[in-house]
């Protein structure tokens, strides 16, 4: 029954490669052993080979008689109309330089915008200290005050302003 079993996909791939002479020696021997015992494999090889041979029935298509002449003429025409290679190279270098300069400009603008945004929106520790400078410098006095209510009473009586004026004098 094994002789009539279907071929595995790997064996099928190898059958085609066997016919094309593209198998390594070990694989060739394996295929030949299979062919020796399997009528199914022999039939496969026979059909693959005969249907492949049918491709020889395709008509032989040749280039027209003036193909070479036409091709060479168009090559020469292209050569005449296109600028010399040296000038093409210069043009290409200029184009590359332009693209690089453009990218450098875009990067510089992005860097500037990034710096500005960061500077404006991200909180800075030094700025916070400057804002709180008055409180920090009067921290000892403010701690003596004790409660907010007492501070509000002092403010209501204008005691703090008078104290500041005396201190200034």
């Amino acid at each position: 029954m094994a002789k009539l079993a279907r071929l595995s996909p790997e064996h099928r791939d190898n059958l085609a490669a066997y016919l094309d002479g593209e198998l390594e020696e070990a694989a060739v021997q394996e295929i030949e052993q299979i062919l020796a015992v399997s009528p199914v494999a022999r039939h496969e090889v026979d059909m693959l080979s005969r249907t492949w041979d049918m491709l020889s029935a395709l008509p032989v298509q040749k280039a027209s008689d003036d193909f070479t002449q036409k091709t060479v003429s168009s090559m020469q025409a292209t050569e005449r109309t296109s600028p010399p290679v040296a000038s093409q190279a210069v043009k290409q270098n200029v184009r590359r330089g332009g693209v690089l300069a453009l990218w450098a400009g875009v990067l510089a603008v992005c860097a500037y915008l990034g710096f500005s945004a960061t500077h404006q929106w991200v909180p800075n520790e030094s700025d916070q200290l400057l804002d709180d400078y008055e409180i920090i410098s009067n921290l000892d006095k403010l701690q003596e005050v004790g409660t907010i209510e007492f501070l509000q009473v002092l403010k209501a009586k204008n005691t703090l302003a008078e104290h500041d004026e005396h201190s200034a004098k």
């Binding site: 490669a17 593209e22 249907t51 041979d53 049918m54 032989v60 040749k62 280039a63 193909f67 060479v72």
Partner: protein, 216 residues
Amino acid sequence: MNQNGTDENPVLRDPDVRLMLRAKGGDETAFTKLVANYQDRLVGVLAHLLENKDVAEDLAQEVFLRIYRARHGYEPTAKFSTWLFRIANNLANNQRRNTGRKKEVALNVNDSGPLGPRPGERLIAEKSGLMPNRQYDKSEMCTMVQAALATLNEKQRMAVLLHKFEEMSYVDIAAALETTPTAVKSLLSRARDNLREILEPYVKQGTLGTTETEEE
């Protein structure tokens, strides 16, 4: 090392590579010789690939023009034929994509067109038993094979043409199709299976059925 330095680079043993190097050096006759050497082979493969000889000639001319324009930067890293067919394959793919887009707009899928059924449709009709069993003449056989070839996908068809008509190895086909030899092995196996599936009935009943098969 020999005088040509070919021991260093085996690719330089390819006479077409040497012609291309001469063309790179400004020898116009070397390039003309390359065109003459390859024009029939290239047009032949492209005509079967695109099923249109006029388009094949135009495309073959474009292939040579591209090679000519690229001659100043040419470096011999592979066989010349491999490079040529790689360019041809890429151009043919572009051509088919463009044609495909136009067809999508122009054709109804159920419409066979003013020239009657297409080869593939005819083949299906014949396979389904609408045609009586009989011997096939050469032109009928040719039509059947063309129709069978047309059922293969683009890569399979190119691999088949390069292997059958250019006798290229799996390694060279892989270089031309920008894939691996293992993928080419699989491509050709599928292609041969597809061709066998379509053409086997004709082998059995047609003029080529001269060998007794195991089943018979």
